[in-house]
């Protein structure tokens, strides 16, 4: 019986995911190209400069790192609304005078630990407390913002003298590119590898796609879920370091509404909110679209109202551009 016209030797090359890994991003790339063309036409002098491209990447770096963690969580069938608040809390904690007295290294460590810790609490509540992710992380959002406000007494905390090494991530450039862009790239690369080349990544797809099947196949779904949120928190910690470097401060107001931006980037990137599908590359492309839109607005000096209207329309167009793709993939 031959139900398939293809020869038995089909399906060569590439990995398990390679086969449906490429076409799906065409729509996103098309949207990016379109935006770039708009940039070249409307602000020819300022758009295609190195400094502007670097600026775009620097702007994208903070949410970008968060988006990587968010991609894992969403592929794993969850959602993390607390990312912005956790980043804020980590930045505040890392810039308290007490922490700062130990120097820049401890500050970074503190940010990462606080982020991971908050993520772990999310994970525990969701995996072992059986709370709905939306609610658990919403509670964390609210509580982390409150804690950050309390800890900072609602003030912006400057990075003190002696700890300029943190700020140097933003000001030091290698080959004309600030260090924090390299960190962003590193996080994306590591995220991609973990998702595509390790058992952890493969299990993430299983846990998100069909948790019952994953459980019966011997995966410790709860533990894995918990780790996913911890990973997201870890990314928030890294993002906190980047935002500290960029703003030279820790503040309870950092990262406001980042959760919506990150989730939007992930979804525009083709990851399903129901879990089990998605790619890091897609998320980053989605994020770059958003950043590019902002950049174009900045360069063109549009007023806020028009920006918002245009942004809404662009999102719709970008998604409709990749609709055919989506349609094919979604059953």
């Amino acid at each position: 019986m031959k139900t398939d016209g293809a020869p038995a030797t089909a399906g060569v090359g590439g990995g398990v995911f390679a086969r449906f890994g490429e076409v799906r991003h065409l729509g996103l790339v098309a949207a990016l190209v379109l935006l770039a063309v708009v940039g070249l036409v409307t602000v020819p002098d300022n758009f295609a400069t190195t400094s502007n491209l670097v600026s775009i990447l620097s702007l994208a770096a903070t949410i970008g790192v968060i988006t990587v963690g968010m991609t894992f969580v969403i592929i794993g069938g969850g959602i993390d609304l607390s990312v912005g608040a956790v980043m804020a809390l980590a930045s505040v904690w890392a810039t308290t005078l007490a922490t700062q007295s130990y120097g820049p290294f401890v500050m970074g460590l503190c940010a990462v630990l606080v982020g991971t810790g908050a993520g772990l609490v999310n994970g525990l509540l969701i995996a072992y407390g059986r709370m709905v992710p939306f609610i658990a992380t919403l509670a964390m959002l609210v509580a982390a913002r409150g804690l950050a406000q309390r800890m900072s007494d609602r003030k912006t905390q400057l990075i003190q003298q002696g700890n300029e090494a943190v700020v140097a991530l933003s000001t030091t450039r290698v080959l004309g590119v600030p260090l924090l862009v390299y960190i962003f790239a590193l996080v994306v690369a590591v995220g991609w590898i973990v998702l595509n080349r390790t058992t952890f990544g493969r299990r993430t797809y299983a846990v998100g796609g069909n948790p019952e099947a994953a459980r019966l196949a011997g995966i410790d779904v709860r533990r894995h879920t918990m780790l996913l949120y911890a990973l997201s928190g870890f990314c928030c910690g890294i993002a906190a370091i980047l935002i500290m470097a960029r703003t030279t401060t820790g503040s309870s107001t950092h990262g406001d509404l980042y959760e919506l931006d990150a989730i939007a980037a992930v979804i525009i990137g083709g990851t399903l909110l129901t879990g089990g599908r998605g790619t890091i590359i897609g998320s980053i492309l989605g994020l770059l679209i958003f950043t590019l839109i902002t950049n174009l607005f900045i360069l063109n000096g549009l007023n806020t109202s028009d920006q918002l209207i245009a942004k809404g329309l662009i999102i719709v167009i970008a998604v409709l551009l990749q609709r055919r793709n989506l349609k094919e993939r979604a059953p």
Binding site: I243, S251, T253
Partner: protein
């Protein structure tokens, strides 16, 4: 909707025509490009700031005005200023979302040889800007505190219930206002009974006020930091049918002034915080870029800092201010 307070011409007519400068400073000089960056104009006061700045720039044939995307995300505002530095403008007018967080980028601008005029929210590092111009938030609180304190003292109230509705709590300006209010009240031996923060919007003002009115059955005085959220506060007061207390606003919006003028509202006074400072900031930036001084002063250069005064508007003087009030 007004964000922060200000007495400013009717919003319908966009910005007020800045008064001509004396001493020939308005004569066209070297051509200058002035970059402008401010938070997103989702509230009236900031919207007025943006409009005033643009209108002031339009007055001069020698000024090219380059405004970048207003935004509430620090990260994006940094990016916006970066793009202005890259465009090599002659002077920058920056109203930062948060002075401390944009300090670094302002320093970079200064280092790149671009003079920065810091508008309103102040950079902590004096190296970061050439001139600061802004309102007096502490003074606003003091003005409100004096009005409330004096009035209660005159009435002979002891242990008054004084309620304060703040704006966005994480802004330093809110903290300054609150401190000024408390300090002024202290001179009368009074203190604030309860305070809650709103978000500078009508709706949040309404919500906070509705709950506060439940918490305090009898109130003697109320200070609301912002006349725009004040619209919501007044609606809540009306809904609850309360009138045993008086209220002081903050901003100087036209609405608030009309309420004050009517005489039958709990709103008796408001203290100003004017968005006209944006027009002044543009003028200063132009002068600095052209190397001129302020012609009314003896100095050859523009001063390092200029603080506006906060005025108290009551039924007595409202007539005079009403034309300047902005529709929030």
């Amino acid at each position: 909707t007004s964000n922060q307070p200000a007495a400013q011409p009717s919003a319908q007519s966009a910005a007020p025509a800045p008064a001509p400068a004396a001493g020939g400073n308005d004569q066209p000089g070297t051509k200058v490009v002035i970059g402008f960056s401010a938070p997103a104009a989702d509230h009236g006061w900031i919207a007025a700031i943006a409009k005033n700045a643009e209108a002031a720039a339009k007055q001069y044939s020698d000024v090219e005005f380059k405004a970048v995307e207003p935004t509430n995300d620090i990260n994006a505002q940094i990016s916006a200023v970066e793009s202005l530095i890259a465009a090599k403008v002659n002077a920058l007018v920056i109203l930062p979302n948060d002075g401390q967080q944009l300090n670094q980028i302002a320093l970079q601008a200064t280092a790149a040889g671009i003079p920065v005029v810091n508008l309103d929210r102040v950079f902590p590092d004096k190296l970061a800007y050439r001139t600061w111009i802004g309102g007096d938030n502490y003074g606003m609180g003091v003005a409100a505190g004096h009005y409330v304190g004096k009035k209660l003292k005159d009435k002979g109230v002891t242990n008054p219930v004084i309620v304060e509705i703040q704006g966005i709590a994480t802004l330093p300006l809110t903290q300054d206002r609150t401190k000024g209010f408390a300090d002024a009240l202290k001179t009368y031996g009074f203190s604030v009974t309860a305070k809650q923060d709103a978000q500078f919007t009508v709706e949040t003002g309404n919500k906070v006020a509705a709950n506060l009115l439940q918490a305090h059955k009898k109130i003697d005085a109320m200070w609301n930091h912002d006349d725009d959220q004040g619209v919501g506060v007044l609606a809540a007061i009306k809904e609850a049918g309360r009138n045993e207390f008086f209220m002081v606003g903050g901003a100087g919006s036209a609405n608030a002034m009309r309420e004050i003028q009517s005489g039958d509202s709990v709103l008796e006074a408001t203290v100003t915080y004017s968005p006209t400072m944006a027009s002044s900031a543009i003028k200063l930036a132009r002068l600095i870029a052209q190397g001129k001084g302020m012609s009314d002063l003896v100095e050859n250069q523009v001063p390092q800092s200029i603080t506006l005064a906060s005025e108290t508007i009551t039924k007595e003087n409202v007539q005079k201010y009403l034309p300047l009030g902005f529709e929030s």
